[in-house]
Symmetry: C2
């Protein structure tokens, strides 16, 4: 069943009112009619199965049938801190991280990041990434839309580490040094409902200096298996492993 | 260090001779010179660290320095049987499955597969996919290049199941029925060095009839977490989980 995210105040008296871009999606893309069922989520605690009661070009109303019990959120709140990669890879990472259950994507400018965003463009880019996260969350039947945060400098990233209960750094050199189980050890320390920051370098990886600073701030270094993963594959590996481990 | 796959008979008397497309890569793309080091693998059991001793436009010779000890193959031989997806997704799946350690990619025409390949095009497409697998294997520091097999019909896929010691089907309906740990149970039955066939539907999934037939042939149905994954994300989830579990 198709899922749509609505604001909290669009749910009132057993009726959900849908406006904006989702109206076009329901009417034109899905070609739904009165009587069809959809899932509406308020992007927080409430998710309902609803039946469409009226369709107009500006707004759609749907009657709440029942609370939708199935929960689809990862038991750990995972933030993917991604060193700014080339091209449209950040869009890909946002889409796949949303599917695989991330709570947040936090791009940062790493030493080896090739693209440089100017402030004017950055706002538009982040806006677009948040739209991608919303659409991917709807398709993946998530209960929450992950947030894509503003581009952080490396210094700002260091400052944010204290906001998380655990922090791991994907660092292929550790795997090469023959210590394969560091990720398992790090995940064993994480409890359900805790927060975890996963830091991933751009193409070419983090520099030894960056890794040193992250270690000083308390991050655990982990390898992601014996093969060399591209920067955009690393978050998928970590999120899949976390889902497998906790779910 | 850059890695290249060579044929077995291009290794003789302590010298590796590289010909074909890799010459262009070494000379023009990597701009390597005499004395630079590379890794050469015979796509079977032998991987060597080598030093380039001569460069010509037709062939490059490299002297073997030592056996390269680090192994990067998954301990289980995983074949991803992928229901033919839309657009260029099979290229993406081939690249990512190679990075994540698959031994083989086997595309098949599922009931809900939208693209239809004619025989003339199919050969070229499979050739291109094998080239993508080779390049991804080099970049990921694999010891073997995964094979991309010819497009199978669903009936042919059923016939191939007996070639594998274990077979699982990614089926989201199982996850919805509230049995989250079937993948873990299935992986617990797999021993190192055994072979595992992972069957994944195209967009829209496998039909209930297809799932029934696979079940009759002895496949185990598994969910891939409580979220709905796109067809191209499912193989990555399974391979990451297998790597995490076995490595």
């Amino acid at each position: 069943m198709q899922r749509y995210f609505v604001t909290k105040d669009s749910i009132a008296d057993g009726i959900v009112t849908i406006t904006g871009g989702d109206v076009h999606h329901i009417v034109r893309v899905m070609r739904m009619e009165q009587g069809d069922e959809i899932i509406c989520s308020d992007n927080d605690k409430r998710t309902y199965r609803c039946r469409i009661s009226s369709l107009h070009n500006e707004a759609i109303q749907a009657t709440i049938l029942e609370e939708y019990g199935q929960k689809s959120e990862l038991p750990v709140a995972v933030t993917i801190a991604q060193g700014l990669p080339k091209g449209d890879k950040l869009e890909f990472i946002t889409q796949k991280s949303t599917e695989l259950g991330a709570s947040c994507v936090l791009p940062f400018s790493a030493r080896r990041s090739v693209p440089k965003w100017d402030e004017k463009k950055a706002g538009k880019k982040i806006e677009r990434l948040n739209k991608i996260a919303k659409e991917a969350a709807e398709q993946a039947h998530r209960d929450r839309i992950p947030k894509v945060e503003k581009l952080h400098s490396f210094q700002e990233l260091l400052g944010r580490m204290k906001d998380y209960q655990h922090c791991i750094v994907a660092y292929e050199e550790v795997a090469r040094q023959g210590e394969p189980s560091l990720l398992a050890k790090a995940l064993a320390r994480v409890q359900r409902k805790q927060s975890l920051l996963v830091i991933i370098g751009p193409e070419g990886g983090l520099t030894p200096e960056e890794v040193e600073k992250l270690k000083e701030e308390g991050a655990a270094l982990c390898g992601l298996g014996p093969r060399i993963l591209r920067t955009e594959t690393a978050p998928m590996y970590v999120l899949s492993a976390i889902s497998y481990y906790f779910e």
